[in-house]
C-alpha cells in the first residue's frame, strides 16, 4: 500500500513535469500548427539558468529556489519569443518548414549547451526541506514531489486564468478554433503567436528548474528526454487541448511509474503501447477535436 502511494505521488509529480512541457507544446500547436522540437531546449536552458542563479546564491535557501524559478521562466520565455520572431514568423503558414527549423534549432542548441556547460551533468541542490520526506497514508513521500505538483497546478491555473480573463487569452482561444476568422475580425493574430510562445517557453523554463530539482542534475539532454514524453502526452491528450494535456500527463506518468516498478522497468514501452492503443481507438486523442 505504502509503495503504491509513493508510486502514485511520484507519478503525479512526474506528470506535473510532463504537463509543464506539454502545455506549451499543445498551445503552440493548437494556435499555430507548429510542432516545436526546440521546446526541450527551452527547458534545458531554463534549467541551466536556474542552476547558474542557485550556484551564485549557493545557500540552498527558498529565496534562491524562487529566484531560480523566476529566472528560468524568464529565460525560457525570452528564448521562445526570439525563436518565434526570428525563425518561425519568417515561415508563416509553412508548417513543415517551421517544424524543420525547430529541429535544426534543437540540434544546434543541444550541441551548444554541450560546448558551454560540458556533456557531463551538473549537480543541483535545493532547500534541504525538499530532500526530506513526510508520511502520507503510510508512505514516505519526498517533498520535491509536492513542489512539482504545487507549481504545475499553479501554472495550469495561471494559464487557464490568462486564457479566460484576458483579451490575449480570448484571441488565443478563438485562434485555436479558427485562426483565419480571427484575422478577419481585424486582429493581428501573430501577436498571439508570440504570446503563446512566451507562455510555453516560460512553462518549459519553470519545468527545467523543477526537473533539475527532481532529478538532482542538469544535462544538455535533459530537455530532449522529457520532450519525447511530452510529445506522447500531447498526442494522447489531443493536440491543442490544455485539459487533454493535463489529463494525459498524469495518466502517462502514473502508468510509467507503475510499469517501471511492477513490470520490471517497462515504463517507457508501456507508454508507447498506450499511445498506439489510444490512436487505434481515438486517432484525435482524448480531448482532441475529431477530424
Amino acid at each position: 500500500m505504502s509503495t503504491l502511494v509513493l508510486l502514485l505521488v511520484t507519478g503525479v509529480g512526474l506528470g506535473a513535469l510532463y504537463f509543464l512541457v506539454a502545455s506549451g507544446l499543445s498551445l503552440i500547436y493548437g494556435l499555430m500548427g507548429v510542432l516545436n522540437f526546440a521546446h526541450g531546449s527551452f527547458l534545458t536552458l531554463g534549467a541551466y539558468a536556474g542552476w547558474e542563479v542557485s550556484r551564485r546564491m549557493s545557500d540552498g535557501s527558498w529565496l534562491s529556489l524562487v529566484l531560480s524559478l523566476v529566472v528560468g521562466a524568464a529565460v525560457g520565455a525570452l528564448v521562445a519569443i526570439a525563436t518565434e520572431l526570428l525563425l518561425i514568423r519568417r515561415l508563416y503558414e509553412r508548417h513543415v518548414e517551421q517544424v524543420l527549423v525547430t529541429v535544426g534549432l534543437a540540434l544546434a542548441t543541444v550541441a551548444l549547451f554541450d560546448g558551454i556547460w560540458g556533456t557531463d551533468a551538473v549537480y543541483v541542490s535545493g532547500p534541504a526541506w525538499l530532500d526530506e520526506t513526510s508520511g502520507v497514508l503510510g508512505a514516505q513521500i519526498p517533498h520535491d514531489r509536492f513542489l512539482l505538483i504545487g507549481v504545475a497546478v499553479a501554472v495550469l491555473l495561471g494559464i487557464v486564468a490568462f486564457l479566460r480573463f484576458t483579451r490575449f487569452g480570448l484571441v488565443i482561444r478563438a485562434g485555436v478554433e479558427n485562426r483565419s476568422m480571427v484575422t478577419a475580425l481585424g486582429i493581428d493574430v501573430r501577436m498571439a503567436f508570440t504570446v503563446v510562445f512566451a507562455i510555453g517557453g516560460a512553462a518549459a523554463g519553470i519545468g527545467g528548474v523543477l526537473a533539475s530539482q527532481y532529478f538532482g542534475y542538469v544535462s544538455p539532454q535533459l530537455g530532449a528526454s522529457l520532450l519525447i514524453f511530452a510529445f506522447i502526452v500531447t498526442v494522447i491528450g489531443g493536440l491543442g487541448s490544455l485539459l487533454g494535456a493535463a489529463i494525459a500527463s498524469l495518466a502517462v506518468a502514473v502508468l510509467q511509474q507503475l510499469a517501471n516498478f511492477y513490470a520490471s522497468g517497462t515504463g517507457d514501452l508501456v507508454v508507447v503501447l498506450l499511445l498506439a492503443a489510444v490512436l487505434l481507438v481515438r486517432p484525435s486523442g482524448l480531448m482532441g477535436a475529431r477530424a
Partner: protein, 391 residues
Amino acid sequence: MSTSTTPPTSREDDRPATTRGQHGDSHRAATPGGDGASRTRRRLVEPVAGLVLLVVLAVLPLLNLSIPGVLPGATYTPGTLQLLALCLLFASLALTYHVLFGITGLLSFGHALYLAVGAYGLGIVLERTGLGLLPAMVVTLVLGIAVATLLGAVSLRVSGISFAMVTLAFAQAGSVLIRRNPSITGGEESLPLTTDHVPAALVGVIHTRNLYWVALALLVLVLVLVTWFERSRAGHVAAATRENELRVRVLGMRPYPVQLLAFVVGAGLAVVVGMVYLLLNSGVTPRVASADFTLTILVVVVLGGLGSRWGAVVGGIVYTLLDHRLTALASSDTVEQLPALLRVPLSEPLFLLGTLFVLVVLFVPGGLVGLGTRLADGVRGRRGSTADGAA
C-alpha cells in the same frame, strides 16, 4: 472550404497537379520555368551523367587521388574508402527516407529505427544462428518488413504532425529496447559483428575496398528501386497524396494503402542499408536508433533538396563529409587556441550543422540541388532567353 469557391475551370487545372508525379524525377527542384524541351533534355542527361559518375566512383579505390581538406587521405587508403563508403551509405539511407518524405509527404521521425533493425537484426541473427550471411540477411529483411508493416499500419492512423510524433515514439521505444537488453544487443556498448559466417572478403581493414564496392552497389540498387517506385502507378498516387490528399480521396482512391506501401518500401530499404552499415563498421552502437539519428536523416534530405532523388544522394554525401571534417576541425589545435566565444561553437560539429540546416530551410528552399539548378538556370537565362529568368 465550400464547393462554391471552385470555379468551372478547376477540371482543367486538375490535370497538371495530379500528373505531376510523372515528371517526379525532379519535381520540387525542377526548373521554375522548365518547359517540355528542357525536361526531355534532362531525361537524357540524367542517366548519362549518372553512368559517368558511377564509373568514376567504381574506379576510385584503384586511383591515387587526394583532395586535401575534403578527404583525409588518398582515395585508395582504407581510411578514405571507409569515409567514402559511409557517404554512399548515407546517400542510400537518405534515398530510403526520400520515399517517405520526399515522394509521399510522410514526415516520419522514426526512420532510424529501421536502420537499427537492419544492423542489430543482422548482428543478432549472425551471432545467434549458424546461418550464412545471405540467409541471415533475408531473415533480417523479412523481420524488418514485418516490423515496418505493423508500426506503419498503426502510425498511419494519424497524419501530419501526429504521425511525426507517433513514429518518434516508436523509434524511442526501439532505442529503449536496445539499451535495456545488453545481453542481446550489447546495451550501451556496441554489438560487434560476428564474422564466423561472413565471407572473408568482407571482413577487416584490408578489405575496406570491397565494402566500398558493396556500398556503391547498394546505392545503385536503392536508386534504381526508388526510381522505379517513384515512376510506378503507386508512386504517382503517393505523390498525389502528398500534393493534395483530399483530391486523391475525391478521385475515389484511398491514400492509406499507398502510404503504407511507401512506408514499408522506405523502411525495408533502410533495413538493407542497416545491414551493410553493420558490415562496414564491423558493429553497431545504439546511436543509430536515437532520435538524433532520425533527425540527422531529415537534415540530410532537406540539405540536399527535398523531393529530389539526387538531392538525397548529394545531401548524404555532403553531410557525411561535412560531419567528418567538422569533427576534425573541432578537435584541431587552431580551434583550441581561439577565444571561448568562437571556440565553443566551432568545437561542436552538431551546432554548426544545425545552424547550417536552419539557414538552408530559411533561405535555400530547394536545398543544395535546388541552389545548383537555380545557379545553372541563372547562367543559362543570362546567356539565352530573358523569359526564363523570372525565377
